[in-house]
């Protein structure tokens, strides 16, 4: 305790800056790191209680045993062996789980390609062709509003259009293009992909738009001045600079479709199997360890996809 301040204090009390009256007048200052904890702590607690710990439980329970009506907290690999049943015995035929995942990946790929195409051009139009800020805001808002309304309603909304007697079918019959209403428009893979695109293109538009508005317009003019065609500018300037947005949008869309069970259920007429639907089915049968095992598998696959994609871009830098 032999600092110079102490010595000064002993010599002439009351003269030290920040001591005595000055310090007493101010209420005790909380240290900045303590304030940060107070501010960020509540949100951290919510994620801990309702996200991180539940994930741990999913992993633990996936190794528990079960019978027809309850969980048995004893180690067992049954959740996994039940899931992969027949995968080796049936070779070279694919087992159910492999088929289901292939189907899910196929849906995922289709939806990804279509949302990327639509999302890219919608964002491009908003970012480069709409010059006035007010219009840009208004049109972005127009794209966002459906996101604030119910997904189920937006799915049901296709029924009067695509059903057997729906607008599309009756229109096609009237024009003579087909003789009988076609059945594959609704409750089919087609309607699932359509609805997923309808619901989730938004997740592509926003990040791509965000990347695009940050592109310095003089770069594009420079490319133009240097004699690049519109196509060359697009491929060599705009797409590379919009890549972070493209990757983030892709991660959103792919993870949503991988885990989806509601859209696939409603629009597939509850007939199409998918990764998320297996989990739901197992839960409904009260086979929680099997549901948890499927959740772990889905989590691992989703995580692999994200890791692969985030190799391309540092997410944290882009926000």
């Amino acid at each position: 305790m032999d600092t110079s301040e102490d010595i000064l204090q002993q010599a002439s009390p009351g003269l030290i800056p920040g001591s005595g009256t000055a310090r007493a007048a101010k209420p005790t200052r909380l240290s900045p790191s303590f304030v940060s904890w107070l501010q960020a702590g509540p949100m951290m607690l919510v994620f801990l209680a309702f996200f991180l710990i539940p994930l741990v439980f999913v992993v633990i329970v996936s190794f528990w045993d079960y019978n027809e009506y309850q969980l048995l907290p004893a180690f067992s690999g049954r959740g996994y062996t039940d899931t992969f049943e027949g995968c080796i015995a049936q070779l070279p035929d694919l087992c159910t789980i492999a088929k289901t995942y292939l189907k899910t990946l196929k849906l995922c790929f289709l939806v990804w390609v279509i949302t990327l195409f639509i999302g890219f051009w919608v964002a491009y139009f908003l970012a480069f062709h709409v010059k006035s800020k007010t219009w840009q805001m208004g049109l972005s808002l127009l794209c966002t509003i459906p996101f604030w309304t119910s997904n189920v309603i937006r799915m049901i909304a296709w029924i009067p259009l695509l059903g057997r007697n729906g607008l599309v079918n009756s229109g096609l019959v009237k024009t003579g293009l087909i003789n009988h209403p076609v059945e594959w428009l609704l409750f089919s893979e087609f309607s699932v992909v359509l609805a997923l695109v309808h619901l989730f293109t938004f997740f592509m538009v926003v990040p791509i738009f965000n990347s695009m508005v940050r592109i310095d317009k003089s770069l594009i003019e420079a490319a133009y001045d240097a004699g690049a065609t519109g196509f060359q500018t697009l491929v060599n300037v705009i797409i590379p600079l919009a890549k972070p947005g493209i990757v983030i949008g892709s991660i959103f869309v792919i993870t949503i479709v991988m885990g989806d069970f509601i859209t696939i259920g409603v629009m597939g007429g509850q007939q199409i199997a998918a990764a998320g639907k297996i989990i739901e089915t197992r839960v409904n049968a009260l086979q929680f360890p099997a549901a948890a095992a499927n959740a772990v598998i889905l989590l691992v696959i989703t995580f692999l996809i994200i890791t692969m994609m985030s190799r391309i871009v540092d997410i944290k830098k882009e926000l």
């Binding site: 919608v122 127009l142 119910s150 189920v152 991660i251 926000l319």
Partner: protein, 292 residues
């Protein structure tokens, strides 16, 4: 560079218009169809115009107890909105300084956003089941369940709304001029006064945006509620239950009523944001403008 618009503008404008039509067309179709006449079916053409199906919904003669589910969803939505706003603003303020566990919180939020909802939902339901079992085994044999709308249900919704709230806060503070706050401090404001009288009024329009996300995402939430809501249903869950047995337009009527609430909230929020922005523009100081 005044050459008129390039041809690509018109091509993309048509593309954009088609996209907007694709977004809104089907929704508008069911809003119209919910005003079918009493004999009307599930598709066009309209069979007369009436409020028969909407009235039927409110009489409670329909398939679900709409009133109860409506009140539950509204209550949950409002609580989720308030909690999301408070926690997001607080955490957003924390992120302006460096603090330990910063990246843990950031990655938790991102992970919570992109881990498939069904997994989070299943996890919460397992967590509460295990808590129930522990309570039954050690304290109270007659204990029913700790799962419910405002426990597991609220938590499930927050894992979905909080990441959006936090990301919006990041966007706000990316554009925020910290000198304004420093000026307030230099004039002797306490940190709370600087927040209350300087920071909050500036970020208020975006904070209302967070509230808008909080309410609407909760109001329409389905995937995370599915396993974690407990014994009772929210409005979207009831609606989803109806989709398997669609036979008459009351499902459209229900959809229209749910959307009416969404659109009311959206209009209120956007209106308030617009008003605040206008007031800021009118009353805000013009100090420093014209100097650059």
């Amino acid at each position: 560079m005044k050459e008129g618009r390039p041809r690509s503008f018109y091509v993309l404008a048509i593309f954009f218009a088609a996209y907007v039509l694709f977004l809104y067309g089907p929704m508008i179709a069911i809003y119209v169809l919910s005003f079918q006449g009493p004999q009307g079916g599930l598709t066009f053409p309209m069979n007369g115009v009436s409020t028969f199906w909407i009235a039927k919904l409110f009489q409670g003669t329909g398939i679900v107890d709409l009133g109860a589910a409506f009140r539950r969803s509204l209550l949950l939505g409002i609580i989720v909105m308030i909690v999301t706003v408070v926690l997001s603003v607080a955490a957003g303020m924390a992120f302006r300084r460096k603090f330990k566990a910063q990246s843990i919180l950031f990655y938790s939020a991102i992970a919570s956003l992109i881990v498939p909802s069904i997994i989070t939902s299943l996890g919460i339901s397992l967590e509460f089941r295990i808590i129930d079992d522990l309570i039954k085994a050690h304290w109270n044999e007659n204990f029913e369940t700790s799962m419910g709308l405002l426990t597991s249900g609220l938590g499930a919704h927050l894992t979905w709304t909080l990441p959006f709230g936090l990301l919006i806060m990041f966007a706000i503070f990316n554009r925020f001029d910290p000198r304004l706050e420093e000026a307030a401090r230099d004039l002797g404001a306490t940190p709370w006064q600087a927040f209350r009288h300087v920071v909050l009024p500036i970020i208020l329009p975006s904070v209302i945006g967070i509230g808008l996300f909080g309410f609407t995402l909760s109001w329409d939430e389905l995937a995370r509620s599915s396993q974690a809501i407990g014994a009772v249903n929210t409005l979207p869950l009831d609606l989803q239950g109806l989709t398997t047995t669609v036979t008459n337009p009351d499902i459209y009527a229900l959809g229209t009523v749910i959307s009416a609430v969404s659109f009311t909230v959206i209009t209120l929020a956007l209106g308030t944001i617009h008003m605040l922005n206008k007031r800021q523009a009118a009353k805000g100081s013009d100090a420093g403008k014209g100097l650059v």
